[in-house]
Amino acid sequence: MTITEAQGRTDDILSAVGITKSFGRTRALDGASLRLGRGEIHALIGANGAGKSTLSKVISGHLVPDAGELIYQGAPLRLRSTRDALDAGIAMVMQETSLVPDLSVAENIFLPELAQPGRFSYASLYRRGADLLATLGQQDVLALDIKVRELSAAQRQLVEIAKALSVQAKLIIFDEPTASLSPSEVERLFDIMIRLRDQGSALVFVSHRLEEVFDVTDHVTVLREGRTVLASHPTANLSQGELIRAMVGHDLAAIYEHPHVAVTPVMPVALEVCGLSAPPLVHNVSFRVHEGEILGLGGLVGAGRSEAVEAIFGLRPRSAGTMTMQGRLIDPRSPAEAVRAGMGFVAEDRRTQNIVPHLSVKENLLLAHLGTHKGFGLGYRGRERQIAVLLQSLGLPADRLLDANMLNFSGGMQQKIIIARWLLLEPRVLILDEPTKGVDIGTRASIYALLRDITAKGTAVIVISSDFEELLGVADRIVVISDGISVANLPSALLDKEKLTLLAAPRTSMARNTALLRELSTETGGTGFWALLDADRLICLNLVTRDSGSGPGFAAGDAKTFGETLIPQALARRAPTLVTESSGSHTTMLCPLQSRRGHNLGWIGLTMTTATKLPSPASIQSRVAALADTL
């Protein structure tokens, strides 16, 4: 971080003063201000409804403020449209991408040029598009002539960033850019942002995720209820607690409050999934979830987590695998059958998959009920007492809620209503896909508390989240899915963010690693493995064996204490030399795997039972080092 550098600059690129904006009777901004320096990444944070998005949209010309003024590069700036903002060099990378799916990547990058005079030439678009991607350090990542419709979320975002650069933007606003990215994609985005800052751009970073604010920003501005409550404060001088206090106006108890119990009392299995396959994305997913347990499904975006639970819930055809609920084999071919079997499912996309926008809150609440209700009428009457009790326990005001349109409420409130929809049916297994996406930090805590309450009554809960911190905080156990395969099933107490990141890495990116392990095992007739080592515990990430015998006593995805394996002494020594167990059964060597950037990526091990030809430790060490260089 170049914080001191950013502090040193006093010439602001933009200052917004006294910005006020009302929608109907709600006042979204009430005299908010924001000062941005050149060459800095500036965090703009606040709870949902604090006015971050509104302020971003005022600065980028999407909205015209009721009052207040913008000073841009020393002169007053009046924006009547996004066109004006783009002409001034202000661009916004939207949360929901604002791309044209049926045009090519190149055309999207240069979309604003379609409104400008001059010739239109694909050759020029491709050439300049390639140059732009090169300045982002992302050449060869995108084919410029394919339609945006065919891109992943992360690739689309890259197109958005390139689009902002195509108008020579000096100020770029990123509105929750990390919401749908996997951890490695977030890292790549931060690389790009830092590169842009170092080239002199000013960047505004709007996010809900505080840890990211600390990762990448130089200064922080906090909004609360439409006002600026903390202005341009250097990020480095802040603690997470101070930030939260500024956002919510009071202290918040630690949001993940449940104490991790290392040993969960063994409850009956609520749902067991075995060998689930649903092409093209789900290949072999197995897990169990116990009553009263929160199971986290972790992994990268696109690893097949959502698809797996959709297949379980009968939304997608399954090609293989069995599912057992409370000892009975179930085979739901539609959501209606899954609901009858005792499942509930809160899908990822609230707006398109969960809410019926033109129905009232009450009707939305009773939608799942309608699916199970037998009879010609609505049968709402019989649910009324239950609704009253449920709403009270969720802290939702019943009188205000029931007749109002669903869209009048914040994302967090909507999410609670959708969860309540399923609770009415008292499911035995409730599946939630990204339940806190786009939900502010205060409401997030109450959703976590709600999940705890649900499990306390014996319901099994399955949570999918791309936010590893959330997953670790909320789940009792985590099943990691990578490329459609469940690769690990571990108590979350044994995991941290780094380990999860390594476990979730796509199998394809492990190709080199696997190749080395295969070479080692072939050459020696032993077992090559890649593992993370704690004080006395091992988590095996990958393993290749040619050993017909017992091997080291663990398999890929296993977490075991050293004592539970067959090579405890070697693991305890963790030295790049050959260590033979005192029983004489196994000879093992371990090499640390360290990336060029100094990240510890675990250990590469080689274990041989019948040591006919012992390899030289030095040669193995150098091969591991060569592998580490490519990571």
Partner: protein, 324 residues
């Protein structure tokens, strides 16, 4: 860590081509032509090929305008009525002023009606279906009133020169159709205006946010569609030298069918005039072939309806297979 790089040439050009709907429809058109040439030996004669092309002119011209409208995510149900009304206007004015000026007046009238529809749809955010449905009724009614409920048959015979002049071997109306499609294709593919029309149909908010002239390019297609409806009826009148207030009845259905068979999405953003041309040819070939075989014209509707549904069915199956 980075995104896994995407190969620059993701697919070979040929494979990309075979994946396009236009290609599949071209194959369908080819199979249809081969099949019909077996069923009727007269089908593949030069005479009949020019016949097919001649019969494609009127519907082909209207379908170009319809493609523009559908690309923006709209629909124009008024094309048939505009054709009828502007035909009557042409017939009436050709009696008092030279016919080339009368054509201009008729085309201006068609464009004017399109402009009204486009403005109502764009400025008041009315549903295109409903606005053009209203225009369809109004246009037909005005055509009857202006014509006095009868066909105007004393059209100056000079008008027929726009159809029956040969440019080398090609009749002028077929030549006009070809030039129109080339211009429309080049406009939609290689100009800023054309790409803006795709952008507006594919994601209107993104186009607006990028500063594109969304309002202008939302109205323009209706103007083009109205004007081309008048042009189309002009070619029809030039052949029979009579302007019937009933002319162009149900033409909107043929035009929409051609565009849809050609692979356009009714939600906008997807489609091309190349596909539309193939769609037009498929429909005209079916009509022509059934006539040659002496099958009752009442079967034509069933045949064309089946082709539309089969085309969409095949498309749905193929795209589901591609998703695997």
């Amino acid at each position: 860590m980075t995104l896994s790089p995407m190969p620059k040439a993701a697919r070979s050009p040929f494979l990309t081509l075979t994946r396009s709907l236009e290609f599949r429809m071209l194959v369908l058109a080819g199979l249809l032509a081969i099949g019909l040439s077996f069923l009727s030996p007269y089908f593949m004669t030069w005479n009949n090929i020019f016949n097919v092309l001649d019969q494609s002119v009127v519907i082909g011209i209207v379908a170009v305008g319809m493609t523009f409208v559908i690309l923006t995510g709209g629909i124009d149900l008024s094309v048939g009525s505009i054709a009828g009304l502007s035909g009557v206007i042409l017939g009436l004015s050709a009696q008092i002023i030279p016919w080339p000026v009368a054509i201009l007046i008729a085309v201006a009238a068609g464009a004017g009606i399109g402009l009204i529809s486009g403005c109502l749809i764009t400025f008041f955010r009315l549903a295109p279906f409903v606005v053009t449905l209203g225009m369809m009724a109004i246009g037909r009614s005005l055509a009857y009133i202006l014509s006095g409920q009868t066909a105007i048959s004393d059209i100056p015979s000079g008008l027929s020169s726009i159809v029956y002049t040969n440019l080398l071997v090609i009749p002028s109306n077929v030549g006009f159709l070809a030039v129109l499609y080339v211009i429309a294709w080049a406009y939609l593919t290689y100009t800023k205006g054309g790409r803006t029309i795709y952008a507006v149909g594919s994601n209107k908010e993104a186009a607006r946010a990028a500063g594109l002239r969304v309002t202008f390019y939302s109205i323009l297609p209706y103007v083009i569609s109205g004007a081309l409806s008048a042009v189309a009826i002009t070619f029809s009148i030039a052949q029979i030298l009579s302007a019937d207030p009933l002319a162009g009845n149900a033409m909107e259905l043929d035009a929409i069918a051609a565009v849809v068979i050609g692979g356009a999405s009714l939600f906008g953003g997807r489609g091309s005039v190349v596909g539309t041309l193939i769609g037009v040819l498929i429909m005209v070939m079916i009509r022509n072939g059934l006539n040659l075989m002496g099958i009752s014209p009442f079967w034509q509707g069933s045949a064309i309806g089946s082709i539309i549904i089969i085309a969409l069915l095949v498309e749905s199956i193929v795209s589901r297979l591609n998703a695997r």
